[in-house]
Every structure is written in structure tokens, then in C-alpha cells.
Amino acid sequence: MAWVALTLVYVLLHFLCYALVLRHQPRFTRERVIFAYHASSELGWALVLPIGGILGVWTNEGLAAWIAAVALHGIYSLTFLTLWSLASGGYSIGILAQIDAVGHGQAVERADLELIGSDKKDARLRGVQALGLIRSRDGYLEHTHRGAWAASVLASIAGVFAVRESG
């Protein structure tokens, strides 16, 4: 169980490092940077644990302890990234904030709500193009090979769980 205990200490330090120092740096407000901070830590820790065991820095434990440690770090990172993403303001949160701003029961300007959606849609369209999932050809948007594969996987998930509409 030493690796599990070590992982708990490690993720606590990882979080404190962000909370006390890194979150004050402007580049740590960028999605790619925050994702890299967690992904590199997860991969690095998965390698450091067995290497440290082999070198005798700590006791060498088996596959079960390694899986437990990596999954524990995964829970921490996924929770952190989900909260980070939610806090960046989803569309639903934007709608709630807008309704809250106009006041209880007051008519909300439909155009304001649609403007949030329009900005989000444009940003996401640029995002999926930047990720190489969609390309523009002769004025038409189409999937790249990778995009077609990703869309099939996502549509399968939606199909299995009976999602009526996505987005």
C-alpha cells in the first residue's frame, strides 16, 4: 500500500503547487497548459513509481499497487479538469447567469441568450478545425479521417445511452 500512500502525498503536493504558485501565472489560465500540467504528471508518476521501486528509493510493489496509484492520480486529475472546465463557463451556466442578471421572472432578451450560443458555436467550430477533426474544402466543411472516426465513436456512445440530441 506504500505506493497508494505516496500517490496521495504526491497529488496533494501537485495541487498545492498549483493553488499557491501556478494559478497566479497567466499561462495557467490556458486550457492546453492546464491539461499538459495534469497529463505530464499522470504519465510521469506512472513511470517514476516503478523506476523508484527498481532503484530502491521506495519498496517495489506489484501491478495492483501500480494500477491503484495511477487510477488514484486519474481521479484527482479528472476531477480537477472537470471543475476547471465547468468554471470556465459552459453555455448553461451563461444562460443561468443571464437570467439571474435580469431578475426573477423578468423577460430575458432571447437575442442575448442566442449571442452566447453564437459565440460558443464559432469558438467550437474553430476549435474542432484546429484539432484537425474538420476541414474546409471549396467552401464546404467536412470531416477529416480522424474527425470521421471521432464522430463515429461519439455517435456510438450517444446511441448506446439513447442520447436524443447532442450539443
Binding site: 500500500m1 487510477a71 468554471a87 443571464q98 435580469v102 439513447a162 447532442s166
Partner: protein, 170 residues
């Protein structure tokens, strides 16, 4: 052995969540995932402890299941609510011009589905000619403001909840 049991329980939990979703498609997906996942996790504890006691394998099985389940919730929420996923899925029918895509995926549709979902899940109530926040949505907005400030995201326009919080703080 412990890994195989974890995988089997995970697959069964996913299948039962999908089945419940088909039987009650209007229910809240998070409640569905938490209920089915919680029951499966409790079953896993029983089986693993009965087989190996409180060993490192038992801990590994429980943590692995929890991680995989959280990942499933994240993926499902992503597929259900992501604008990017909506755009990707709509292009499955073939190439479309930006104008066509904008028509097929209108902001009006986006607003409508969000409002429906927020009312169905108890975050909004229709009041008069507009809408009202519920206690649940006020808690969510407060949590959002706290998190947003912690993560140093660019502040959005001040909301009533934010103004209320500031008034109480000053």
C-alpha cells in the same frame, strides 16, 4: 482475478445504466450514473473483500472502478452537452457549407434545448414572461463564481448571485 471481476462489474454497470436510460429517457443522467455506479461499486466491495479481504488488490479494484466510472460520466456529459460534439455529429451526413451547418444547428435550437434541460433538471422555473432561478441553480451559480475566481478565469458579467455575495461580503 480481481482485475477480471472489476472489468465484468464495470461492463454490467454500463449496461444497466444504458438500460435505465432507455426505460426512463427523461430522467437526470447524473442521478442514473451515480445510482447504477454506486450499486455496482458496493457489489464490487462485497465480492473483492469476500475473495481477498482488505488487500492491495481490493483497493486497486475499487479505485480503478471509481476512475473508470468518473471517466464514463465525463464522456457521457461531453457527448450530451458539448457544442463541438454536436457539430461533429451533424457533419456525419456529409460535407456542408458553413451556412447550411448554421441553419441545421441554429443558436435558437441551442437556447431551446438548454432551457428545456435546465427546466427539466430543476434549475429554472418559468415565471411570468421570463424565468426564475431555483435554490439549486443559485447554489450552482455561487459554486461557479467561487471556482471561477479560484481558477482565475476571466470574470463574466456580474450576476445577481455575484452581486448578492459581494453585498454580503462588504
Amino acid at each position: 482475478m480481481w482485475l477480471g471481476i472489476t472489468v465484468v462489474i464495470f461492463v454490467l454497470a454500463l449496461a444497466s445504466t444504458a438500460a435505465v436510460g432507455r426505460l426512463r429517457p427523461s430522467g437526470n443522467f447524473l442521478v442514473r450514473f451515480v445510482t447504477c455506479g454506486g450499486l455496482a461499486w458496493a457489489t464490487l466491495i462485497g465480492i473483492e473483500v469476500a475473495i481477498g479481504g482488505m488487500s492491495v488488490e481490493t483497493v486497486a479494484a475499487l479505485v480503478l472502478f471509481a476512475f473508470a466510472w468518473e471517466l464514463s460520466i465525463f464522456l457521457f456529459a461531453f457527448v450530451t452537452t458539448s457544442v463541438s460534439v454536436g457539430l461533429l455529429v451533424r457533419l456525419r451526413a456529409g460535407p456542408r457549407s458553413e451556412v447550411d451547418l448554421a441553419k441545421a444547428y441554429t443558436t435558437d435550437f441551442m437556447v431551446e434545448t438548454r432551457l428545456e434541460r435546465l427546466i427539466r433538471d430543476g434549475f429554472l422555473v418559468p415565471v411570468g414572461s421570463g424565468y426564475g432561478l431555483t435554490r439549486k441553480s443559485r447554489v450552482v451559480l455561487r459554486a461557479f463564481n467561487t471556482l471561477s475566481s479560484f481558477f482565475r478565469h476571466t470574470p463574466s458579467a456580474p450576476t445577481g448571485v455575484a452581486r448578492h455575495a459581494r453585498t454580503h461580503a462588504s
